[in-house]
Amino acid sequence: MMKTRRAMLIVSMFCGVGCTLPVSQQDVLSELTHPQDDGGCVPRQSINDWPVKVLFLVENRGSLCVLDPPGSTGARGFCEMFTQADGGTVPGRVKALEQFWASHAAQTNLWSSVTWWNPGERGFSFRPVSGGLPMATGAELTHALGAAGDLEGALRLAKQRLEAEMQATSPSLRAQTKFEVVMLSVGVPTPICSSNDDFSTFPTPTNPQGRWPDSPGSGDFCNFGNREVCDPVTGRDPKGGVCLPGFVAGGDRNQPAALMQLATEIAQLKAAYGVGAVSLHSRMLFDQGQLDACGPVCNDLLGLPGRDASIFGEYILRSLATAGGGTFVRPATPQQLDLSDVDVTTVREVCAQ
């Protein structure tokens, strides 16, 4: 008995991350009622007081010139070898965005932001969809492909943009606003970095749970890269080298568990800011046919063999949508991507008359 007591004391003294200590908790701030819960409907003339804000988080890594062609990194070379089978000149993701804008041009309460990263922050903040998609968006998404598939950086960026928007909105309007994040991505995060390089078992694309080792293609970036100050806007260090904003050499990056945590945090913004609704959806950009046609030269395009990359990417995007309370869709090819299934209805039903 005495021994047990002593052991408990020692555990208490040195209890760290691994154990839970008792905490008295109580809600000191809570929503009185939620607008969609009061049973009423939104009069049509008040619909602009019930905004819907869609943040498209569009991946822009260099390998998209193969997986969702055409595309260019700005210099003539590898990417220029790939075209669409039917000779189309607009990548599937760009076409889907243009269609979304066109089909919702009349919806005055709909706002949208398109954000992409390569790495570094690109795109534009929330603006009314009725104003049209900025002209340069499609061209930039097609002809300025970037270096990395830093999904963690992208999700952090999305969370920042959402929080900035929520903080800039009054609490009453916030409660009537619906936020949707739609991630258009290959799904395979690169580079994956691990702070712990001592592995007894390795996860695999078919058994992806657990900690992933440093991506084979990342060289020594995970342990020795990103030493310089990294500009979060340009994703470049002072010497012009590509860097990952917020990454500390030797630390973790793009570990699946961290990505899921970020998706959960995005969904929790609803409670954190008293927002009408927040959810994270994912749409996969992956053309297995293009990858197969590319042959051995594309074998290591995503740091994994093609089939494995496909399985792993789908696992990541599906898990993100689940954690973010949203939906996952994998079109057969990016050209078949359709964003009309994104729910742009208000948090409370609009009155019939």
Binding site: L21, V28, S30, E31, L269, A271, G274
Partner: protein, 302 residues
């Protein structure tokens, strides 16, 4: 008259001034005084003598630079012949000077020496230091900053400390109050606390004015969490209080000047029983997890 007094007299000049004595020649009195003092005229220590005649009396005053004092004596002139009056006054001045210098012949005061060997200088200095040293109690007021990293909370506050220090071990009682707050998406959450800490301390003196102490103990108190909504029409605010406690350790540097001292202390601890506010079910600021504190104090050792 002693030999010393005679030698002094032989070497000392004199200035003589007469006031309201019309029957007497001042120059004659001065001349005779110098003779009486056997003036050699070589010393720079000049005696000043003043004779003031009041009715039938004279007040003789001497300012003596050798013993650095002044003397005066009143003498009766009623029965003194006018012819001998200058010499009479010269003698009176000389006697007064001699009387002044008589202290020089006194023996030096005796010191009673105890028996046995006298202690060394260091032993004596140490004993003196102990007699003059401040007591073992320290009373201190301090300002503090405390950080709970797991709930991203900073608290600022202040308090008082009472320490009892022995040669190696001692005890410490600390009472403080602190306030912190953090904005959330629904409003502001404030966390106030009032705590007391009791610790066992160990002291390592660096030199006579700087010491280091380490302490190990526990902190217990009450945490009060209050939510203030940004929009009270949409959000309900609330408040609650609960007990907070945990073990803690600290290190402190103390710089002393006499009975006063200043201190800089670093504290670390781990919450065993925490207090935390939540908002819409999400974790907010609170007294949870590990904490770190920095305090700056000033105090006195009575």
């Amino acid at each position: 008259m002693s030999v010393l007094a005679l030698l002094l007299l032989a070497a000392t000049p004199a200035d003589v001034t007469l006031e309201r004595c019309p029957r007497v020649s001042e120059s004659e009195v001065r001349r005779l005084t110098r003779i009486e003092l056997a003036n050699g005229g070589s010393s720079t220590l000049r005696i000043r003598a003043t004779v003031e005649c009041v009715a039938s009396e004279a007040v003789v005053r001497v300012d003596d630079p050798v013993t650095r004092k002044s003397l005066s004596r009143t003498i009766d002139l009623a029965n003194v012949d006018a012819k001998v009056l200058p010499r009479y006054l010269a003698l009176a001045i000389a006697e007064l000077v001699e009387a002044s210098w008589a202290e020089l012949t006194l023996p030096a005061p005796r010191v009673v020496e105890p028996s046995g060997e006298a202690p060394g200088q260091e032993v004596r200095a140490a004993a003196e230091a102990q007699v003059r040293a401040p007591g073992p109690l320290r009373l201190e007021a301090f300002a503090l900053a405390r950080r709970f990293p797991s709930s991203k909370l900073w608290q600022l506050g202040g308090g008082v400390r009472l320490a009892l220090s022995g040669p190696i071990l001692g005890g410490l009682l600390e009472i403080d109050a602190a306030h912190g707050q953090r904005d959330t998406g629904l409003g502001q959450i404030a966390v106030d606390s009032a705590t007391a800490a009791l610790s066992l301390t160990g002291t390592v003196p660096l030199d006579s004015s700087v010491t280091f102490t380490g302490s190990l103990g526990g902190r217990v108190g009450v945490g009060i969490v209050t939510g203030t909504p940004f929009d009270s029409a949409l959000i309900r605010g609330g408040s609650f209080a609960a007990v907070w406690l945990g073990p803690c350790a600290s290190v402190k540097a103390i710089a002393s000047l006499g009975h006063w001292f200043a201190s800089l202390a670093l504290e670390g601890g781990l919450t065993l029983l925490g207090v935390q506010g939540t908002f819409n079910g999400l974790s907010g600021p609170g007294l949870v997890g590990p904490w770190f504190g920095l305090s700056l104090g000033i105090g006195v050792r009575p």
